[in-house]
Symmetry: C2
C-alpha cells in the first residue's frame, strides 16, 4: 500500500478487508465472505482516498477496469442473474467498490443487499471458486 | 434514444425517470425527486443494456464520465458529506447509476438509502438548484 496515503484508524488501511485474491499495489480484490452472498467481492483502492473525484481520471479508469473484470468473471463463473455495483463509503470513507452477484432467489432479491432480508437461500459457491477467481484475475489483469 | 435498443416494457425506455437535466442522446441525467434525498440524481444510459460489461469500454468510460461530473457538481453545489454511487438493476435491468449526496443527519446515514430509514431530516435543496445543475452540466459536458 501507499504509505503516503494511509490512515491509522481506517479499517481498509490497516486490514485487508477479506481474502485477498489479487493486488497490484494500486488496488486489491477481496472475497468478502458474506454468508448470504458468498460471491460478494470488493475492489479496494489501496490509497486512502474518499471519492472517485478525489483521484485522477487515469486512476478512476484503472480502478473501474478492475471492477469490470471482476464483474465479467463473476458473470462467467457464477452465471449471476445480475451484478450489483456500489461505492458508498459512509462508514469507511476509503474508496471501495462492492461487486455482488445476484440471483432471483437470493436473500435480498430484488432489493439491494442493504435492503430488508426477505428469505434464506444463499447459493453456495462452486468448488474451488476462490482459487479459480484468483487465477482468472491474475490472467485478466496481467500488466 | 436509440430505437434499436429499447424495450417496450422497460420503464427507463418508455419514461424519462425524473426531471431531465441533461441528455446528449447517449445518456441522460435526471433529478429523481426523492423526498428524503432531494439531490438524488440518476445517470441513465439511453440504450437498453443490462450490465456495464454489456457495453464497449469506450461507452463505459463515457457513461462513467457523466457520473463523475454529476458527483463533482453535487459536491460543489450541495457540500455533501459523501457521494454514494450504485448500479443495481435488479428491478429495472437497464443501466442506470444512482448518484446520491449524503449528509451526517440525513434519513438513512450512515446506512445506504436502501437501508432502514432512521429519522426524518431531509436537507432542502438550495433555491434554483435544478436550473443551476442543468446549466453546470451543459457547461461541463459540452462536446
Amino acid at each position: 500500500m501507499n504509505s503516503e496515503a494511509t490512515a491509522a484508524s481506517c479499517p481498509l488501511c490497516v486490514q485487508s478487508g477479506g481474502e485477498v485474491l489479487w493486488d497490484d499495489g494500486f488496488a486489491r480484490v477481496v472475497l468478502v465472505g458474506d454468508a448470504d452472498h458468498p460471491g460478494f467481492c470488493r475492489v479496494i483502492l489501496n490509497a486512502h482516498k474518499k471519492e472517485m473525484t478525489d483521484i485522477a481520471e487515469i486512476e478512476r479508469n484503472r480502478l473501474m477496469n478492475v471492477v469490470y473484470v471482476v464483474e465479467r468473471l463473476l458473470r462467467e463463473l457464477l452465471q449471476a442473474e445480475k451484478i450489483n455495483l456500489a461505492s458508498f463509503g459512509n462508514m469507511v470513507p476509503h474508496l471501495h467498490w462492492h461487486v455482488i452477484p445476484r440471483y432471483a432467489g437470493d436473500p435480498h432479491f430484488p432489493g439491494s443487499v442493504w435492503s430488508e432480508r426477505l428469505r434464506a437461500g444463499a447459493r453456495p459457491l462452486p468448488a474451488g471458486f476462490a482459487r479459480t477467481l484468483r487465477t482468472r484475475l491474475a490472467d485478466a489483469l496481467l500488466r
